[in-house]
Amino acid sequence: MRTLGVLLAILLIAVPPFMAEYHVYLLSLTLLWGIFALSMGLVLGFIGEINFGQAAFVAIAAYASSLLRLKLGFSFWSAAPVALALVVGLAALVGLITLRLRGPFFALVTLGFGEIVRLIITNWQDLTNGPLGLRPIAPPESLFGLRFDSKLGFYYLVFATLCVSLAALARLIRARTGRMMIAVREDEVLAGFVGIPVLRHKVIGLCFSALVAGLGGLLIGPFLTLLAPGQFDLFASVDMVVMVVVGGVGTLAGPLIGAVFLVFMPEALSFARELRPVMMGGLLIIVTIFLPGGVIGLLRHGLTRLSSAGRGRLAVLR
Protein backbone atom coordinates (compact mmCIF):
# COMPACT_ATOMS: atom_id res chain seq x y z
CA MET A 1 0.00 0.00 0.00
CA ARG A 2 2.82 2.38 0.93
CA THR A 3 4.84 1.59 -2.20
CA LEU A 4 1.70 2.15 -4.22
CA GLY A 5 1.32 5.58 -2.64
CA VAL A 6 4.90 6.61 -3.33
CA LEU A 7 4.61 5.42 -6.92
CA LEU A 8 1.41 7.39 -7.36
CA ALA A 9 3.02 10.52 -5.87
CA ILE A 10 5.92 10.26 -8.31
CA LEU A 11 3.49 9.95 -11.20
CA LEU A 12 1.49 12.95 -9.96
CA ILE A 13 4.70 15.02 -9.94
CA ALA A 14 6.28 13.78 -13.14
CA VAL A 15 3.40 13.42 -15.58
CA PRO A 16 1.38 16.69 -15.44
CA PRO A 17 3.97 18.80 -17.39
CA PHE A 18 3.23 16.59 -20.37
CA MET A 19 -0.52 16.79 -20.01
CA ALA A 20 -2.97 19.04 -21.85
CA GLU A 21 -3.96 22.16 -19.88
CA TYR A 22 -7.52 20.91 -19.50
CA HIS A 23 -6.35 17.69 -17.93
CA VAL A 24 -4.08 19.55 -15.56
CA TYR A 25 -7.09 21.63 -14.56
CA LEU A 26 -9.12 18.49 -14.06
CA LEU A 27 -6.39 16.92 -11.98
CA SER A 28 -6.22 20.06 -9.80
CA LEU A 29 -9.99 19.93 -9.34
CA THR A 30 -9.78 16.27 -8.34
CA LEU A 31 -7.00 16.86 -5.82
CA LEU A 32 -8.86 19.87 -4.42
CA TRP A 33 -11.91 17.71 -3.85
CA GLY A 34 -9.56 15.11 -2.48
CA ILE A 35 -8.55 17.61 0.22
CA PHE A 36 -12.21 18.31 1.04
CA ALA A 37 -13.02 14.60 1.11
CA LEU A 38 -10.02 14.01 3.37
CA SER A 39 -11.37 16.58 5.82
CA MET A 40 -14.76 14.87 5.81
CA GLY A 41 -13.07 11.49 6.12
CA LEU A 42 -11.68 12.52 9.48
CA VAL A 43 -15.12 13.47 10.80
CA LEU A 44 -16.86 10.44 9.37
CA GLY A 45 -14.21 7.82 9.95
CA PHE A 46 -12.42 8.96 13.08
CA ILE A 47 -15.06 10.88 15.03
CA GLY A 48 -17.86 8.77 13.64
CA GLU A 49 -20.25 11.61 12.86
CA ILE A 50 -21.63 13.13 9.66
CA ASN A 51 -20.98 16.83 9.28
CA PHE A 52 -23.36 18.44 6.81
CA GLY A 53 -21.73 21.80 7.52
CA GLN A 54 -18.29 20.86 6.28
CA ALA A 55 -18.65 23.11 3.21
CA ALA A 56 -19.08 26.04 5.59
CA PHE A 57 -15.52 25.54 6.86
CA VAL A 58 -14.33 25.63 3.25
CA ALA A 59 -16.41 28.73 2.59
CA ILE A 60 -15.17 30.60 5.66
CA ALA A 61 -11.51 30.02 4.80
CA ALA A 62 -12.14 30.87 1.14
CA TYR A 63 -14.03 34.09 1.87
CA ALA A 64 -11.82 35.21 4.73
CA SER A 65 -8.62 34.86 2.74
CA SER A 66 -10.05 36.36 -0.43
CA LEU A 67 -11.60 39.31 1.42
CA LEU A 68 -8.34 40.00 3.21
CA ARG A 69 -6.64 40.09 -0.18
CA LEU A 70 -9.25 42.10 -2.04
CA LYS A 71 -10.26 44.59 0.68
CA LEU A 72 -7.20 44.91 2.88
CA GLY A 73 -4.40 44.21 0.43
CA PHE A 74 -3.04 41.12 2.16
CA SER A 75 -0.98 38.73 0.07
CA PHE A 76 -2.26 35.19 -0.38
CA TRP A 77 0.44 33.96 1.99
CA SER A 78 -0.22 36.45 4.78
CA ALA A 79 -3.99 36.00 4.51
CA ALA A 80 -3.72 32.21 4.75
CA PRO A 81 -2.73 31.86 8.44
CA VAL A 82 -5.38 34.40 9.49
CA ALA A 83 -8.09 32.59 7.56
CA LEU A 84 -6.99 29.20 8.91
CA ALA A 85 -6.89 30.46 12.50
CA LEU A 86 -10.39 31.83 12.03
CA VAL A 87 -11.80 28.60 10.67
CA VAL A 88 -10.12 26.43 13.32
CA GLY A 89 -11.29 28.73 16.10
CA LEU A 90 -14.81 28.64 14.75
CA ALA A 91 -14.68 24.84 14.48
CA ALA A 92 -13.67 24.64 18.14
CA LEU A 93 -16.61 26.84 19.10
CA VAL A 94 -19.10 24.94 16.93
CA GLY A 95 -17.68 21.63 18.15
CA LEU A 96 -17.97 22.54 21.82
CA ILE A 97 -21.65 23.29 21.29
CA THR A 98 -22.65 20.58 18.82
CA LEU A 99 -20.45 17.58 19.60
CA ARG A 100 -22.43 16.91 22.76
CA LEU A 101 -25.03 15.67 20.31
CA ARG A 102 -24.78 12.41 18.45
CA GLY A 103 -25.90 10.77 15.23
CA PRO A 104 -28.84 12.41 13.48
CA PHE A 105 -28.91 15.26 16.01
CA PHE A 106 -25.35 16.27 15.29
CA ALA A 107 -25.92 15.94 11.53
CA LEU A 108 -29.01 18.17 11.74
CA VAL A 109 -27.33 20.87 13.78
CA THR A 110 -24.34 20.99 11.43
CA LEU A 111 -26.75 21.22 8.51
CA GLY A 112 -28.18 24.28 10.21
CA PHE A 113 -24.71 25.71 10.76
CA GLY A 114 -23.81 25.22 7.10
CA GLU A 115 -26.97 26.95 5.94
CA ILE A 116 -26.48 29.86 8.36
CA VAL A 117 -22.98 30.47 7.02
CA ARG A 118 -24.21 30.26 3.44
CA LEU A 119 -27.07 32.68 4.15
CA ILE A 120 -24.75 35.14 5.88
CA ILE A 121 -22.46 35.08 2.84
CA THR A 122 -25.42 35.51 0.50
CA ASN A 123 -26.98 38.39 2.40
CA TRP A 124 -24.00 40.37 3.71
CA GLN A 125 -23.77 42.00 0.32
CA ASP A 126 -21.63 45.00 1.35
CA LEU A 127 -18.86 42.64 2.31
CA THR A 128 -19.28 39.57 0.11
CA ASN A 129 -21.08 40.98 -2.94
CA GLY A 130 -23.82 38.43 -2.23
CA PRO A 131 -24.87 35.92 -4.85
CA LEU A 132 -22.94 37.79 -7.56
CA GLY A 133 -19.78 36.62 -5.88
CA LEU A 134 -16.28 37.91 -5.35
CA ARG A 135 -14.09 38.34 -8.42
CA PRO A 136 -11.54 38.36 -9.83
CA ILE A 137 -9.43 36.39 -7.38
CA ALA A 138 -5.82 36.40 -8.50
CA PRO A 139 -3.54 33.39 -8.28
CA PRO A 140 -1.28 33.28 -5.21
CA GLU A 141 1.78 35.55 -5.42
CA SER A 142 5.02 33.75 -6.20
CA LEU A 143 6.91 32.43 -3.21
CA PHE A 144 10.60 31.50 -2.98
CA GLY A 145 10.79 31.88 -6.77
CA LEU A 146 7.92 29.45 -7.33
CA ARG A 147 5.15 30.78 -9.55
CA PHE A 148 1.51 29.77 -9.30
CA ASP A 149 -0.06 31.83 -12.09
CA SER A 150 -0.06 29.00 -14.61
CA LYS A 151 -2.36 25.99 -14.54
CA LEU A 152 0.64 23.77 -13.91
CA GLY A 153 2.14 25.95 -11.18
CA PHE A 154 -1.20 26.05 -9.38
CA TYR A 155 -1.57 22.31 -9.77
CA TYR A 156 1.66 21.77 -7.88
CA LEU A 157 0.41 24.04 -5.10
CA VAL A 158 -2.75 21.94 -4.80
CA PHE A 159 -0.67 18.78 -4.85
CA ALA A 160 1.63 20.10 -2.12
CA THR A 161 -1.36 21.13 0.01
CA LEU A 162 -2.85 17.68 -0.34
CA CYS A 163 0.45 16.09 0.70
CA VAL A 164 0.72 18.35 3.74
CA SER A 165 -2.88 17.58 4.75
CA LEU A 166 -2.35 13.89 4.29
CA ALA A 167 0.88 13.91 6.29
CA ALA A 168 -0.73 15.91 9.09
CA LEU A 169 -3.69 13.57 9.36
CA ALA A 170 -1.52 10.48 9.09
CA ARG A 171 0.52 11.74 12.02
CA LEU A 172 -2.61 12.68 13.95
CA ILE A 173 -4.16 9.22 13.78
CA ARG A 174 -0.92 7.55 14.80
CA ALA A 175 -0.36 9.95 17.69
CA ARG A 176 -1.95 9.38 21.07
CA THR A 177 -4.59 12.03 20.33
CA GLY A 178 -5.69 10.11 17.23
CA ARG A 179 -5.90 6.81 19.05
CA MET A 180 -7.97 8.43 21.77
CA MET A 181 -10.27 9.73 19.01
CA ILE A 182 -10.62 6.22 17.62
CA ALA A 183 -11.43 4.92 21.10
CA VAL A 184 -14.13 7.56 21.48
CA ARG A 185 -15.57 6.57 18.11
CA GLU A 186 -15.56 2.90 19.11
CA ASP A 187 -17.29 3.36 22.47
CA GLU A 188 -17.85 6.76 24.00
CA VAL A 189 -18.89 5.52 27.44
CA LEU A 190 -15.99 3.13 27.80
CA ALA A 191 -13.58 5.76 26.48
CA GLY A 192 -14.71 8.10 29.24
CA PHE A 193 -14.19 5.49 31.93
CA VAL A 194 -10.67 4.59 30.83
CA GLY A 195 -9.88 8.27 31.35
CA ILE A 196 -10.28 9.86 27.93
CA PRO A 197 -11.88 13.33 27.90
CA VAL A 198 -14.50 12.52 25.27
CA LEU A 199 -15.69 15.94 24.17
CA ARG A 200 -12.14 17.32 24.05
CA HIS A 201 -11.05 14.66 21.58
CA LYS A 202 -14.08 15.08 19.37
CA VAL A 203 -13.48 18.83 19.26
CA ILE A 204 -9.80 18.34 18.42
CA GLY A 205 -10.88 16.03 15.60
CA LEU A 206 -13.30 18.61 14.25
CA CYS A 207 -10.60 21.32 14.46
CA PHE A 208 -8.18 19.22 12.41
CA SER A 209 -10.92 18.49 9.95
CA ALA A 210 -11.70 22.20 9.67
CA LEU A 211 -7.99 22.96 9.23
CA VAL A 212 -7.78 20.63 6.24
CA ALA A 213 -11.08 21.90 4.81
CA GLY A 214 -9.70 25.42 5.29
CA LEU A 215 -6.47 24.58 3.48
CA GLY A 216 -8.56 23.50 0.50
CA GLY A 217 -10.74 26.57 0.93
CA LEU A 218 -7.74 28.88 0.56
CA LEU A 219 -7.16 27.43 -2.90
CA ILE A 220 -10.67 27.33 -4.27
CA GLY A 221 -10.96 31.10 -4.85
CA PRO A 222 -7.77 31.43 -6.90
CA PHE A 223 -8.58 28.16 -8.65
CA LEU A 224 -11.99 29.28 -9.91
CA THR A 225 -11.05 33.03 -9.90
CA LEU A 226 -14.51 33.48 -8.40
CA LEU A 227 -16.25 32.82 -5.08
CA ALA A 228 -20.04 32.61 -4.81
CA PRO A 229 -22.24 31.29 -2.00
CA GLY A 230 -23.80 28.71 -4.32
CA GLN A 231 -20.54 26.77 -4.34
CA PHE A 232 -20.91 26.00 -0.66
CA ASP A 233 -24.42 24.65 -0.35
CA LEU A 234 -25.52 21.45 1.35
CA PHE A 235 -24.72 19.39 -1.73
CA ALA A 236 -21.04 20.27 -1.49
CA SER A 237 -20.98 18.63 1.94
CA VAL A 238 -23.07 15.71 0.71
CA ASP A 239 -20.61 15.20 -2.19
CA MET A 240 -17.80 14.95 0.35
CA VAL A 241 -19.72 12.35 2.33
CA VAL A 242 -20.34 10.32 -0.81
CA MET A 243 -16.64 10.44 -1.70
CA VAL A 244 -15.64 9.16 1.72
CA VAL A 245 -18.20 6.37 1.72
CA VAL A 246 -17.40 5.31 -1.84
CA GLY A 247 -13.67 5.37 -1.18
CA GLY A 248 -13.78 3.73 2.23
CA VAL A 249 -14.63 5.05 5.68
CA GLY A 250 -11.97 4.97 8.40
CA THR A 251 -8.96 5.23 6.08
CA LEU A 252 -6.98 8.16 4.71
CA ALA A 253 -6.62 6.84 1.17
CA GLY A 254 -10.34 6.14 0.87
CA PRO A 255 -11.54 9.75 0.51
CA LEU A 256 -8.89 10.39 -2.15
CA ILE A 257 -10.02 7.38 -4.14
CA GLY A 258 -13.58 8.62 -3.74
CA ALA A 259 -12.61 12.00 -5.16
CA VAL A 260 -11.06 10.33 -8.20
CA PHE A 261 -14.24 8.31 -8.71
CA LEU A 262 -16.59 11.24 -8.34
CA VAL A 263 -14.70 14.15 -9.88
CA PHE A 264 -12.11 12.91 -12.31
CA MET A 265 -13.95 10.01 -13.86
CA PRO A 266 -17.27 11.69 -14.68
CA GLU A 267 -15.48 14.71 -16.13
CA ALA A 268 -12.89 12.75 -18.03
CA LEU A 269 -15.54 10.49 -19.46
CA SER A 270 -17.59 13.67 -20.11
CA PHE A 271 -20.81 12.49 -18.57
CA ALA A 272 -23.69 14.87 -18.91
CA ARG A 273 -23.55 17.29 -15.98
CA GLU A 274 -27.23 16.85 -15.16
CA LEU A 275 -26.71 13.16 -14.55
CA ARG A 276 -24.08 13.69 -11.87
CA PRO A 277 -26.41 13.96 -8.82
CA VAL A 278 -28.30 10.86 -9.95
CA MET A 279 -25.04 9.02 -10.42
CA MET A 280 -23.83 10.07 -6.98
CA GLY A 281 -27.02 8.77 -5.39
CA GLY A 282 -26.90 5.51 -7.30
CA LEU A 283 -23.25 4.94 -6.50
CA LEU A 284 -23.86 5.64 -2.81
CA ILE A 285 -26.65 3.06 -2.67
CA ILE A 286 -24.63 0.43 -4.50
CA VAL A 287 -21.54 0.96 -2.38
CA THR A 288 -23.33 0.95 0.99
CA ILE A 289 -25.15 -2.27 0.15
CA PHE A 290 -22.49 -4.23 -1.67
CA LEU A 291 -19.19 -2.64 -0.58
CA PRO A 292 -19.47 -1.38 2.99
CA GLY A 293 -15.65 -1.10 3.07
CA GLY A 294 -15.70 1.12 -0.03
CA VAL A 295 -13.33 0.85 -2.95
CA ILE A 296 -10.37 0.59 -0.59
CA GLY A 297 -12.03 -2.28 1.22
CA LEU A 298 -12.36 -4.05 -2.12
CA LEU A 299 -8.70 -3.35 -2.96
CA ARG A 300 -7.53 -4.61 0.42
CA HIS A 301 -9.72 -7.66 0.09
CA GLY A 302 -8.14 -8.38 -3.28
CA LEU A 303 -4.64 -7.86 -1.90
CA THR A 304 -5.27 -10.13 1.08
CA ARG A 305 -6.58 -12.82 -1.21
CA LEU A 306 -3.48 -12.54 -3.35
CA SER A 307 -1.07 -12.68 -0.44
CA SER A 308 -3.46 -14.73 1.73
CA ALA A 309 -1.49 -13.47 4.70
CA GLY A 310 -3.27 -10.58 6.42
CA ARG A 311 -6.80 -10.33 7.68
CA GLY A 312 -9.68 -9.26 5.46
CA ARG A 313 -10.83 -6.89 8.13
CA LEU A 314 -10.80 -3.14 7.65
CA ALA A 315 -7.84 -2.04 9.71
CA VAL A 316 -8.01 1.19 11.59
CA LEU A 317 -4.46 1.53 12.73
CA ARG A 318 -1.80 0.58 10.29
Binding site: R171, L172, A175, R176, T177, R179, M180, I182, A183, E186, D187, V189, L190, A191, G192, F193, V194, G195, I196, P197, V198, R311, R313, L314, V316, L317
Partner: protein
Protein backbone atom coordinates in the same frame (compact mmCIF):
# COMPACT_ATOMS: atom_id res chain seq x y z
CA UNK B 1 -10.31 -1.31 60.90
CA UNK B 2 -8.65 1.32 58.73
CA UNK B 3 -10.43 4.36 57.32
CA UNK B 4 -12.78 3.45 54.45
CA UNK B 5 -11.59 4.13 50.89
CA UNK B 6 -15.09 4.62 49.52
CA UNK B 7 -17.96 6.15 51.42
CA UNK B 8 -21.49 6.05 50.04
CA UNK B 9 -23.88 8.28 51.96
CA UNK B 10 -27.66 8.38 51.65
CA UNK B 11 -27.47 7.63 47.96
CA UNK B 12 -30.79 7.73 46.07
CA UNK B 13 -31.80 7.57 42.48
CA UNK B 14 -35.38 7.79 41.35
CA UNK B 15 -36.61 7.14 37.82
CA UNK B 16 -39.98 8.87 37.80
CA UNK B 17 -41.86 7.17 40.63
CA UNK B 18 -39.50 4.21 40.80
CA UNK B 19 -37.00 4.36 43.63
CA UNK B 20 -34.24 2.29 42.01
CA UNK B 21 -31.83 3.16 44.81
CA UNK B 22 -33.23 4.50 48.04
CA UNK B 23 -31.11 6.06 50.77
CA UNK B 24 -28.27 3.56 50.58
CA UNK B 25 -25.19 4.09 52.76
CA UNK B 26 -22.16 1.86 53.14
CA UNK B 27 -18.40 2.06 53.40
CA UNK B 28 -15.80 0.09 51.52
CA UNK B 29 -12.65 -0.78 53.39
CA UNK B 30 -9.35 -0.28 51.57
CA UNK B 31 -7.65 -3.46 50.39
CA UNK B 32 -10.75 -5.67 50.62
CA UNK B 33 -13.15 -7.23 48.17
CA UNK B 34 -16.68 -6.01 48.80
CA UNK B 35 -19.61 -7.71 47.13
CA UNK B 36 -22.83 -5.92 46.25
CA UNK B 37 -25.58 -8.54 45.96
CA UNK B 38 -29.32 -8.75 45.85
CA UNK B 39 -32.18 -10.23 43.85
CA UNK B 40 -32.99 -8.94 40.35
CA UNK B 41 -34.03 -5.30 40.36
CA UNK B 42 -32.45 -4.67 43.76
CA UNK B 43 -30.56 -1.62 42.39
CA UNK B 44 -27.07 -3.09 42.31
CA UNK B 45 -26.09 -1.88 38.88
CA UNK B 46 -27.77 1.48 39.41
CA UNK B 47 -25.71 1.88 42.60
CA UNK B 48 -22.62 1.06 40.55
CA UNK B 49 -23.55 3.62 37.93
CA UNK B 50 -24.06 6.23 40.64
CA UNK B 51 -20.68 5.50 42.23
CA UNK B 52 -18.82 5.60 38.91
CA UNK B 53 -20.61 8.74 37.72
CA UNK B 54 -22.40 7.21 34.74
CA UNK B 55 -25.64 8.39 36.34
CA UNK B 56 -26.09 11.46 38.53
CA UNK B 57 -27.77 10.62 41.86
CA UNK B 58 -31.10 12.16 42.82
CA UNK B 59 -29.54 12.79 46.22
CA UNK B 60 -26.67 11.61 48.36
CA UNK B 61 -22.91 11.61 47.93
CA UNK B 62 -20.04 9.32 47.04
CA UNK B 63 -16.59 10.06 48.43
CA UNK B 64 -13.26 8.49 47.62
CA UNK B 65 -10.69 8.90 50.35
CA UNK B 66 -12.57 11.99 51.52
CA UNK B 67 -12.70 13.60 48.05
CA UNK B 68 -16.05 14.03 46.34
CA UNK B 69 -16.72 11.73 43.37
CA UNK B 70 -20.33 12.76 42.83
CA UNK B 71 -20.77 15.02 39.85
CA UNK B 72 -17.39 14.30 38.24
CA UNK B 73 -17.09 13.49 34.54
CA UNK B 74 -16.12 9.85 33.76
CA UNK B 75 -12.56 10.75 32.74
CA UNK B 76 -12.14 12.72 35.99
CA UNK B 77 -13.42 9.76 37.98
CA UNK B 78 -10.80 7.64 36.23
CA UNK B 79 -8.15 10.24 37.05
CA UNK B 80 -9.13 9.91 40.73
CA UNK B 81 -8.20 6.24 40.50
CA UNK B 82 -11.58 4.61 40.03
CA UNK B 83 -12.07 2.14 37.18
CA UNK B 84 -15.05 0.02 36.29
CA UNK B 85 -16.20 -2.76 34.01
CA UNK B 86 -19.66 -3.09 32.53
CA UNK B 87 -22.45 -5.61 32.60
CA UNK B 88 -22.61 -7.16 29.15
CA UNK B 89 -19.00 -6.10 28.51
CA UNK B 90 -17.64 -3.00 26.90
CA UNK B 91 -14.40 -3.16 24.91
CA UNK B 92 -13.17 -1.36 21.80
CA UNK B 93 -14.46 -3.99 19.37
CA UNK B 94 -12.51 -3.18 16.18
CA UNK B 95 -9.11 -2.89 17.88
CA UNK B 96 -6.82 -5.76 18.75
CA UNK B 97 -6.46 -6.86 22.37
CA UNK B 98 -3.09 -5.11 22.62
CA UNK B 99 -4.44 -1.92 21.01
CA UNK B 100 -7.35 -1.95 23.46
CA UNK B 101 -5.01 -2.04 26.43
CA UNK B 102 -2.59 0.42 24.86
CA UNK B 103 -5.42 2.94 24.41
CA UNK B 104 -6.34 2.74 28.08
CA UNK B 105 -2.71 2.91 29.21
CA UNK B 106 -1.93 5.92 27.02
CA UNK B 107 -5.09 7.68 28.20
CA UNK B 108 -3.66 7.89 31.70
CA UNK B 109 -0.24 9.23 30.74
CA UNK B 110 0.84 12.80 31.14
CA UNK B 111 1.86 14.03 27.72
CA UNK B 112 1.54 17.48 26.18
CA UNK B 113 -0.63 17.90 23.09
CA UNK B 114 2.21 19.13 20.86
CA UNK B 115 4.75 16.73 22.34
CA UNK B 116 2.43 13.94 21.28
CA UNK B 117 1.53 15.33 17.88
CA UNK B 118 5.11 16.15 16.88
CA UNK B 119 6.35 12.82 18.26
CA UNK B 120 8.94 14.54 20.48
CA UNK B 121 11.15 12.46 22.82
CA UNK B 122 8.54 12.68 25.60
CA UNK B 123 6.00 11.02 23.29
CA UNK B 124 8.45 8.30 22.33
CA UNK B 125 9.17 7.63 26.00
CA UNK B 126 5.44 7.42 26.69
CA UNK B 127 4.96 4.94 23.83
CA UNK B 128 7.81 2.78 25.10
CA UNK B 129 6.40 2.85 28.63
CA UNK B 130 2.99 1.94 27.21
CA UNK B 131 4.47 -1.05 25.40
CA UNK B 132 5.92 -2.32 28.68
CA UNK B 133 2.67 -1.71 30.56
CA UNK B 134 0.65 -3.57 27.91
CA UNK B 135 2.96 -6.59 28.18
CA UNK B 136 2.43 -6.70 31.94
CA UNK B 137 -1.35 -6.28 31.59
CA UNK B 138 -1.61 -9.02 28.97
CA UNK B 139 0.13 -11.31 31.42
CA UNK B 140 -2.12 -10.20 34.32
CA UNK B 141 -5.30 -11.10 32.46
CA UNK B 142 -3.78 -14.16 30.79
CA UNK B 143 -4.36 -13.09 27.20
CA UNK B 144 -0.71 -13.01 26.04
CA UNK B 145 -1.36 -15.31 23.11
CA UNK B 146 -4.41 -13.31 22.04
CA UNK B 147 -2.60 -9.95 21.89
CA UNK B 148 -3.05 -9.46 18.15
CA UNK B 149 -6.59 -10.80 17.88
CA UNK B 150 -9.38 -8.36 17.10
CA UNK B 151 -11.25 -7.92 20.39
CA UNK B 152 -14.59 -8.62 18.76
CA UNK B 153 -13.48 -12.11 17.75
CA UNK B 154 -12.69 -13.22 21.31
CA UNK B 155 -14.91 -15.60 23.28
CA UNK B 156 -17.25 -14.03 25.84
CA UNK B 157 -15.05 -15.06 28.76
CA UNK B 158 -11.96 -13.62 27.10
CA UNK B 159 -13.78 -10.38 26.28
CA UNK B 160 -14.74 -10.18 29.92
CA UNK B 161 -11.09 -10.57 30.93
CA UNK B 162 -10.13 -7.86 28.46
CA UNK B 163 -12.76 -5.62 30.05
CA UNK B 164 -11.05 -6.13 33.40
CA UNK B 165 -7.68 -5.50 31.73
CA UNK B 166 -8.96 -2.16 30.41
CA UNK B 167 -9.99 -1.20 33.93
CA UNK B 168 -6.62 -2.28 35.36
CA UNK B 169 -4.86 -0.20 32.71
CA UNK B 170 -6.29 2.87 34.44
CA UNK B 171 -4.09 1.90 37.47
CA UNK B 172 -7.03 2.25 39.82
CA UNK B 173 -7.11 2.43 43.60
CA UNK B 174 -10.71 1.25 43.43
CA UNK B 175 -11.96 -1.26 40.89
CA UNK B 176 -15.69 -1.69 40.30
CA UNK B 177 -16.57 -5.00 38.61
CA UNK B 178 -20.10 -5.35 37.25
CA UNK B 179 -20.94 -9.08 37.08
CA UNK B 180 -17.41 -10.24 36.30
CA UNK B 181 -18.41 -13.93 36.28
CA UNK B 182 -21.50 -13.61 34.06
CA UNK B 183 -21.51 -16.01 31.13
CA UNK B 184 -18.56 -18.01 32.45
CA UNK B 185 -18.49 -21.74 33.04
CA UNK B 186 -17.42 -22.98 36.51
CA UNK B 187 -13.75 -23.38 35.64
CA UNK B 188 -13.61 -19.96 33.99
CA UNK B 189 -15.36 -18.51 37.05
CA UNK B 190 -12.78 -20.07 39.34
CA UNK B 191 -9.96 -18.68 37.24
CA UNK B 192 -11.54 -15.22 37.18
CA UNK B 193 -12.16 -15.36 40.95
CA UNK B 194 -8.49 -16.15 41.52
CA UNK B 195 -7.63 -13.15 39.36
CA UNK B 196 -9.89 -10.90 41.44
CA UNK B 197 -8.12 -12.12 44.59
CA UNK B 198 -4.75 -11.42 42.98
CA UNK B 199 -5.95 -7.93 42.08
CA UNK B 200 -6.87 -7.32 45.72
CA UNK B 201 -3.53 -8.70 46.89
CA UNK B 202 -1.76 -6.25 44.59
CA UNK B 203 -3.34 -3.47 46.67
CA UNK B 204 -6.41 -2.55 44.65
CA UNK B 205 -9.71 -2.29 46.51
CA UNK B 206 -12.45 -4.19 44.69
CA UNK B 207 -16.22 -3.78 44.71
CA UNK B 208 -18.18 -6.27 42.65
CA UNK B 209 -21.77 -6.87 41.70
CA UNK B 210 -22.51 -10.54 41.14
CA UNK B 211 -25.30 -13.09 40.85
CA UNK B 212 -23.15 -16.20 41.23
CA UNK B 213 -23.68 -16.82 44.97
CA UNK B 214 -20.97 -19.44 45.59
CA UNK B 215 -18.43 -17.24 43.78
CA UNK B 216 -19.46 -14.19 45.80
CA UNK B 217 -19.31 -16.04 49.11
CA UNK B 218 -15.93 -17.48 48.20
CA UNK B 219 -14.22 -14.36 47.01
CA UNK B 220 -15.65 -11.45 49.05
CA UNK B 221 -14.34 -10.20 52.39
CA UNK B 222 -17.43 -8.13 52.97
CA UNK B 223 -20.93 -8.14 51.51
CA UNK B 224 -23.62 -5.48 51.15
CA UNK B 225 -27.10 -6.78 50.34
CA UNK B 226 -29.66 -4.64 48.52
CA UNK B 227 -33.32 -5.40 48.05
CA UNK B 228 -35.79 -3.20 46.18
CA UNK B 229 -33.39 -0.28 46.24
CA UNK B 230 -32.58 -0.36 49.96
CA UNK B 231 -29.76 -1.88 51.94
CA UNK B 232 -31.00 -4.80 54.05
CA UNK B 233 -27.74 -6.24 55.34
CA UNK B 234 -24.04 -5.52 55.55
CA UNK B 235 -21.40 -7.91 56.92
CA UNK B 236 -19.00 -10.79 56.40
CA UNK B 237 -20.06 -13.70 54.17
CA UNK B 238 -20.73 -15.84 57.26
CA UNK B 239 -22.99 -13.15 58.78
CA UNK B 240 -24.84 -12.66 55.49
CA UNK B 241 -25.43 -16.38 55.04
CA UNK B 242 -27.31 -16.58 58.32
CA UNK B 243 -29.14 -13.24 58.06
CA UNK B 244 -32.90 -13.75 58.20
CA UNK B 245 -33.78 -10.73 56.05
CA UNK B 246 -31.39 -11.83 53.32
CA UNK B 247 -32.86 -15.31 53.24
CA UNK B 248 -36.34 -13.78 53.06
CA UNK B 249 -35.34 -11.45 50.23
CA UNK B 250 -33.99 -14.34 48.20
CA UNK B 251 -36.47 -17.07 49.05
CA UNK B 252 -39.55 -15.07 50.05
CA UNK B 253 -41.31 -15.17 53.43
CA UNK B 254 -43.79 -17.73 54.60
CA UNK B 255 -46.62 -15.31 53.85
CA UNK B 256 -45.76 -15.36 50.16
CA UNK B 257 -46.27 -19.08 49.87
Amino acid sequence: MSAPLLTVENLSRHFGGVRAVNDVSFAVEAGAITGLIGPNGAGKTTTFNLISGLLPPTSGTVRLDGGMLTGLRPDRVAAQGVARTFQGIRIFPALTVAQNLRTAVLAGMRLGFWEDLLNLPAAQRAEAAATRAVTVLLCDIGLEDRADDIANSLSYAHQSLLGIGLALAVRPRLLLLDEPFAGMNPSETQQAARMVTRIRDSGITVVLVEHDMPAVMGVCDHIVVLDQGSKIADGTPAEIRSDRRVIEAYLGTDDDA
